[in-house]
Symmetry: D2
Subunit: 381 residues, 4 copies
């Protein structure tokens, strides 16, 4: 069994919880779980979500069932088993600032250090294996050293601390004091790309996977660019629009948060092609009725043999949250496998396939298909 | 130097001849040549087209310059050096039947066996290294044994013999009598997939690469399906339309010829996904003003995590002939390298990346990105 | 009240029956009914389907509820009121030939003349106002004169008679013997474009509307071409693909039936643009999992100011049957209004907007937006 | 003859000048000129561009030939006749502020009132008929009264005055002092929508047409929405992205200027549909290699009959400047015709078809096809 704590009980976490239960009950096939067809040391059915944290006060103290019913509506059956797991109050640190939610955070009643200690205690009691971070995209920068991160916590510096960093620090403390565990960072805040965080995880014998779960159009763009690179076609430009109606797109309408996404998305172009093809790749809008099924439009032009020009267009309507939830089903199991193998710090072979900006910092973004080969080899399959 | 004979001086062969000369003269970059960035034993500049064969009587005895001017028009500069290479009369065997061209063939004045001997003599005189088959798509089936193929030639059985088989037989005789050489089959007629032909090449110390050069939408479809398979998404269906205005699309408007393409295109679905997803993948029309720049429309639906459904659409305008010409620049060099290495028969590691239906027969169609890894490894790069 | 008989109880007729009942019960808004926002002499709620005819033996003697449940599945609620209306055996005359259905027809037990008389008797008893023809696309040509049509019936010439002509003749006899009524022909068989049929309707005081209900991509193409024409852009070519998974697409996979559609679709190009722009417009394929929601891909290139070239692409996923059903809701009411006004023969002002090939024969296909203005004026709105 | 002064010698003005000369010389057909096929009192050949104004110091005192060569490059032949027309220094008033151009303006050396007088004098000397405003999109609001506008000029209030208002005022003075003339406003600054400007034109016997020339995706969106409205389909949402690489897209990357476009584009949705369908319609990006050929992606979903949902996608690559230039060829002639007819103020029947935000203010945006009918009727054709 893998005992999991969720950070951010939104659409992704709800789809994750619903999907795992439906698979356990034999209701659906494990489509969208990349490694479902491989025999791993842990089955999907071994995953047990035991607690969730959130700072939206309409979710705190509610069951996952109640939260899922509200977010997902009547379109999917919500398993009754989710009535037994509850959302607890987490760390806010401004991660919902400016968004239309009433937010509450542990750090309102105590210091950040105390809030972290409280989480560590709760996780010890629950005997957690893996923590999954799927809070709303926040603005944040790396600390680069363990010292800088600890200084910010010791000084209770709420200006520079992000919720993700506080959570990640808590998991490191848990690993040090209790037993080795894993942290999956599915949002853009640099953790697996923060040398300070990775060093801390190395020292405490824990694993951080990240950053920014690779879903939506970015992996498709990566593979399309690889397709061009392998044929030595010269990409003149690439345009990629995204628009959606879920909370994440609403959050990305704030320029600072949008910047976080633009960073993780743009790097792939030069990394894969070997040159900086002009590109416009960013989340471009929020439109409520699109809901969780975003619209992606892509266009690229390239030079083919004999100096002639070709054009390609890609359009897609993609369920945003389930795409990430399916990958989390693997990441939870891979984090546990990495811990079991005694690894420490981060694991590029996992990050390269599952993340938009695979850590450690300065590692190259490779095409997802190349990364898949790397992953399968790492697994020994 | 690699001395090349072309079979079928159409759009593809014209782009090949023009492109190689322009690269030699430093006019253009070698975009669209997959291995241009790798250091191979032969450079692009080492390729020398020394002769071409055709059965369209308006081309026979004309220079490649004249033919290219007529086909490509004023849109590209035609290198003057192409004035020195001439088109000779080739073997027809009905390969232009039903199309609006006045056709002529050596076999009208002699037996097929005699026509083959004549070609062998010409190739000896020219000291050919590689023969490239880019005649119009014809209807043809495999002979399966060397005996069946030789019987058809000995009995002058023009009903079952295709022009491609006759040409391929000539190259085998040339290899046996003169020196080892390579045959690149860029059209659907099964040669590398014909056990009889491959056996003949093994015996005569020659190399056949084929079948059906992988250009246009098929490699993109293959990579898109691989993208889905690696995420364990369940493809509900896939639709792919193609329409163009060149001779090949005109030829494919004839049902028998169309069938040849449909075969080579459809197999990828089951091979890559592991199940037979419903699909409609075939050349669907001819419309003259599209010219050589075909229009491709693709649509697929798949099941993602939690049983939800996503949709993807791909559109493209692609220069049909240059795409294949760019790959021939590699295939000519790879055929020569294979011959130099003393290999005999066919080479799956080359075919898998460059061909729609990679020989030998019953070998699996893998995604082009997986095939690319295989190719690079084979090259020792 | 308008009492309606349906010919061909397939997907379109099922959506028509379900939709009207759901509108009556206030369950849904009348979206997709063009004139729903106008005040006509008849409301949607005035329509009463009293009988249906089919030749698929699995439908005959079943209720509309049973047929709808089987065709539409669980995706829509089927109103219980449809349990009271039954499918009777109709006239076959080969209209399902070659399709995977067990067919049965009145004319197997009697002459066509007798079958027609029987229908007339049934309609008299039911006091029908409007008959709607939505049988599967069949191959058929115009008779051009009343005499030719009557000769075929008198001689029981089953080679040349179509089911649609037999049904249309029956309605004319009904009008003559009982009272004026209307016939809505939503399929390509030429009726409103058959001078013989129109003459017969003029004589018998009845109304025929047709031919081939304008749904799917054709009206959109018409309006797009009008958009180009009004800006004096020169259309270089237009491509339009269609693929679907319902019975009509299966039927159109037969070349003769396909030809019927191609005719009605292609004429719009020259009629609207004023010149014959090269085009490829036809139903291109059948793929079962697409079901009733067809996929349309369109591409056109045009010359804009200063001789430059622009490109447009349109993609759509469209529910095929509901689109036609929504228009039938208007056509039934318009046929009755035309009869009430004492009109005889056919009505171009109605046909022009609702039909792909608006009768009478040799009338021009105009853009649907121009036709809409004409219609509104005719209505006196 | 119609003697024309151009304001803003950018891409649009260059295409206008080149295109008219090429039509005069019989080199090209007048495609993209909506009324080219109609017989108007003035032919295209009657248009004579006699002067242009700009504030980009690299253009001032250059010939239209030199400017066109630099902007359009080698892709089009530039008529030699353009060597005889020169660019003069115009009014800046911040219209290039923040853009990467060295700007210069008459008002740097004198008051705005004096600059206006100088223009009036020049136009008298040149005996101008029509002035065309195609300067870069600027931020500006209506003055609403003649008094407010005149007050700003008298007080030399450069904060509130736009270049467009100053130019428009000059034309009014010219009409009053010399003879009636027309002003075509092809950019978003409200002139035909400014009650003050229209009142001034009424008093001075001049004509202002505007605002914001309807090119690109907006007219297509309008016609697509009309298509939906006429079928009573319920539009759930509409998304429209635009990206280009010309100066106008660069300017629109500035939020204030972008806002001007968003206003003129969004109003069509409610005006045509009759309800405010959720929409995201705005210029979304600048990417240099796209140049003048912008990329448009559109997506909409609607409810069809029986409550089912359909989806439509539109993609286009459109030459931005020639599209507007072709319409200016009509607008110049229509402005002159309106003046000849003795009209004063603005003309809705012209604006409705040619403008994104047709004046006078508070007039409805109707679909372009409806507007076309209105125009043809106004012309008496």
């Amino acid at each position: 069994m893998i005992r999991v704590a969720i950070l951010g009980q939104g659409m992704v976490a709800s789809h994750l919880a619903i999907g795992i239960e439906r698979i356990k009950q034999g209701e659906i096939e494990p489509y969208g779980v990349p490694l479902a067809r491989y025999k791993l040391p842990y089955r999907i059915e071994d995953i047990e979500i035991v607690v969730a944290y959130d700072v939206d006060s309409s979710k705190v103290d509610r069951s996952l069932y109640e939260v899922a019913r509200k977010l997902v509506g009547e379109t999917l059956p919500i398993p009754k088993t989710l009535k037994d797991v509850y959302v607890r109050e987490g760390i806010h640190l401004g991660s919902l600032k400016g968004l239309p939610f009433k937010a509450t955070g542990l750090e309102e009643k105590m210091s950040v250090r105390e809030a972290i200690s409280r989480l560590v205690d709760e996780w010890k009691e629950l005997d957690i294996d893996v923590v999954v971070n799927v809070i709303t995209t926040e603005y944040g920068r790396p600390f680069n050293t363990v010292e800088a991160l600890e200084k910010a916590i010791n000084e209770d510096n709420r200006e520079v601390l992000t919720a993700s960093h506080a959570y990640a620090y808590a998991l490191a403390m848990y690993s040090k004091e209790h037993r080795s565990a894993g942290f999956v960072n599915a949002i853009p805040t640099p953790l697996a790309n923060d040398e300070g965080v990775v060093e801390l995880y190395r020292k405490t014998g824990s694993i951080v996977l990240g950053d920014d779960g690779a879903t939506g159009a970015t992996p498709l763009t990566a593979d399309l660019l690889e397709h061009m690179a392998e044929r030595n076609r010269y990409v003149k430009f690439i345009v990629q629009f995204n628009i959606g109606g879920n909370t994440d797109f609403l959050a990305l309408a704030q320029p600072e948060r949008n910047l976080m996404k633009e960073h993780t998305k743009s790097r792939i172009v030069e990394d894969i092609l070997g040159y900086e093809a002009p590109h416009y790749i960013k989340p471009t809008g929020y439109l409520e009725p699109l809901g969780d099924k975003k619209f992606v439009a892509m266009h690229l032009e390239y030079i083919t043999f004999n100096g002639l020009q070709d054009e390609v267009y890609v359009l897609a309507r993609i369920n945003d949250s389930p795409a990430l939830a399916g990958k989390l089903v693997d990441l939870i199991r891979l984090a546990k496998i990495a811990v079991d193998r005694g690894l420490k710090g981060t694991v590029y072979e996992i990050n390269a396939f599952y993340m938009k900006k695979p850590g450690p910092s300065n590692s190259k973004a490779i095409s997802k298909i190349q990364a898949y080969n790397l992953l399968i080899k790492w697994l020994g399959q």
